[in-house]
Amino acid sequence: MINLTIDNKPVQVPEGTTILKAARMAGIDIPTLCYFELDGMNFENKPGGCRVCMVEVKGRRNLAPACATDVMEGMEVLTASPRALNARKTVLELILSDHPNDCLQCEKSGDCELQNLAARMGIRNIPFQGEQSHYEKDTTLSVYRDMDKCVYCRRCETMCNKFQSAGALSGVNRGFPSVVAPAFQQKLGDSSCINCGQCVQVCPVGALTLVDNIQNVLDAIADPTKTVIVQTAPAVRVALGEEFGMEPGQIVTGKMAAGLRRLGFDRVFDTDWSADLTIMEEGTELLGRLKKALAGEEVKLPMFTSCCPAWVAFYEKNFPDLLDYPSTAKSPQGMFGAVAKNYMAPKMGVKREDMVVVSIMPCLAKKSELAREELSVNGNRDVDFSLTTRELAHMLKQCNIDLNQLPEEDFDNPLGQSTGAAVIFGATGGVMEAALRTAYEVHTGKTLPRIDFEETRGFQGIKEAVIDFDGFPLKIAVAYSLANARKLMEEVRNGNPNGYHFIEVMACPGGCIGGAGQPYHHGKSDIIRRRMEAIYREDAGKPIRKSHENPDIVAIYKEYYGEPCGHLSHEQLHTHYFDRSDKLEATK
């Protein structure tokens, strides 16, 4: 243990602790800007670049960055000495001197770390005038870039490269013109970006924001010729409450359904329902491949999950040689859209073109996924708009709806009833666990001795397990962060030496609960943990916890699809993948 004083207060902390963490343990909150850590989730951005957390360490010639300086025995730290305060304020003024002064119109207003810092430090004017950075605005279907606002904290770059290994962003140029950008400062859409949106989730300011579709949805609702139905993803219900001042991990499923109804959606359905459907399709596909393999037939194993659109984009761009490995099952959003427009619309007596399907997602990649060509019929998309958890909260607030004041209501049927297996889709390992619950029972014909697969849960980046499938050892792996997925893909490319059968991949930290469309967690990994706890709490509280036991699922197969992986479901619920990699094409 190391003894030191921080602001004259004696502190004892383990060796290797930074001044920043030691101070926080002592209840002293040193402000930071570039520093960002997701504890236990393999994400750390500690360039020591912003110089906001500078503190005075007695005996040192220069100020020290608290985020990156380890404590030493006998250290005397002053976090708010006149010298440290002057430096912190000056540094902040410098950042603001190269930042547009448009807080009122900024998407990030109220949730901006720079704005909060300026307020906290009492910045009333900016003494430095001079050149400001100007870049062309850029947008994909998911991410909006206004790099005039970039403070060069490099969080997005770290996220894009270290966490996702997508390699779309890099620090470019040097000195004052430094900025984080795709190659040649081209458009993000022309880069290797997979629209996971994690850059947006970690951006401290309004440089990277989401593409806002609230008005599209409000317009559709206001249009009397349209029937607007909505689906809500599993992870939304455990995070939406945060936007209304609730504790992280509060489950607001019923209030959310009520809120959506108040907003004027004609039907309030649940993506959880189509998650159960996904399990039926994907589980069946897995068993099919396993059976063939056992029969000695040539078949692609391991099978990868395909629910996560960032992951899909990632392997299409990086592993075009392995496009046969992922499950062909559409994501739950995609399946819901297909069911809504092919099955539900006629049932409701609505023409396909007059039905508008809106999804509420914890995700930015879903905004891009819904534009995939295979997910539309004659140019009419199965899902018309995807809103994030944050957008839903904004929309509710705009419409004067306070989630706290709402009663608990149920989803509409038949696309509203779901099982515990569906809700755990929201956390890393959840799809795997849900699939195991169903595949085991379908395969063995026996009831599971235990429903909870602890080996797929938790925040470990790559989890591996062997599941006893009634004598057959099923080798599985679960990964989040696409850098982890890349490792597994490379193993597969090299002949799958570990003999995996089934691998689940989610792009975001902890799965969809840490998605880019969720309320900003600002690096407080505890928030993500509490969302995960809530997910499993919701699962445990469900009367039915296996997808194949969902009566509405059973019913739709009976009534409409016939059987999982049958002809109609192949047409509507499955998709195919494209080689979207960079090509080296020489001209003569």
């Binding site: 890099s170 795709p182 190659a183 290797s192 761009k317 960079d582 020489a586």
Partner: protein, 158 residues
Amino acid sequence: MANIKLSEDKVNVIKDICKSFGNNSGEVINVLHQVQGKFGYLPAAVQEVIAHELNMPVAKVYGIVSFYSFFTMEPKGEHPIDICLGTACYVRGAEKVLDAFARALNVEVGKCTADGKFSLNTLRCVGACGLAPVAMIGEKVYGRLTPDMVPGILAEYK
């Protein structure tokens, strides 16, 4: 993502250079040096090929190219003119020499003349401080320059 359009010969030159460094991404700076040595500059398509061969994101390659002043994405003029603005040259009037070149060629610093004949750039110290102020045209060093020498020097290349 962009598809790379570059002649096969050029692609092969780049591939060979990458291969000579074991296609190791840690050698990217050496690769860029050699490729620029061959082509004179590093246009986007060339960087795409290098990224592909070294199995690294092209954004990272561009991040490196845009960081180091030695690397350029702009083609140089037939006779690249570099004016040294190192301290020794600066205090001996290099700026006036630079102005004289810019005026005589009617070209901005960092740009190429319309006919592609000259490009005008500045650099920091060629290490010939004893001859300050110094300019380089191609490989040739001109020392102890004064603005009135500029037209005469340019005449050598016309």
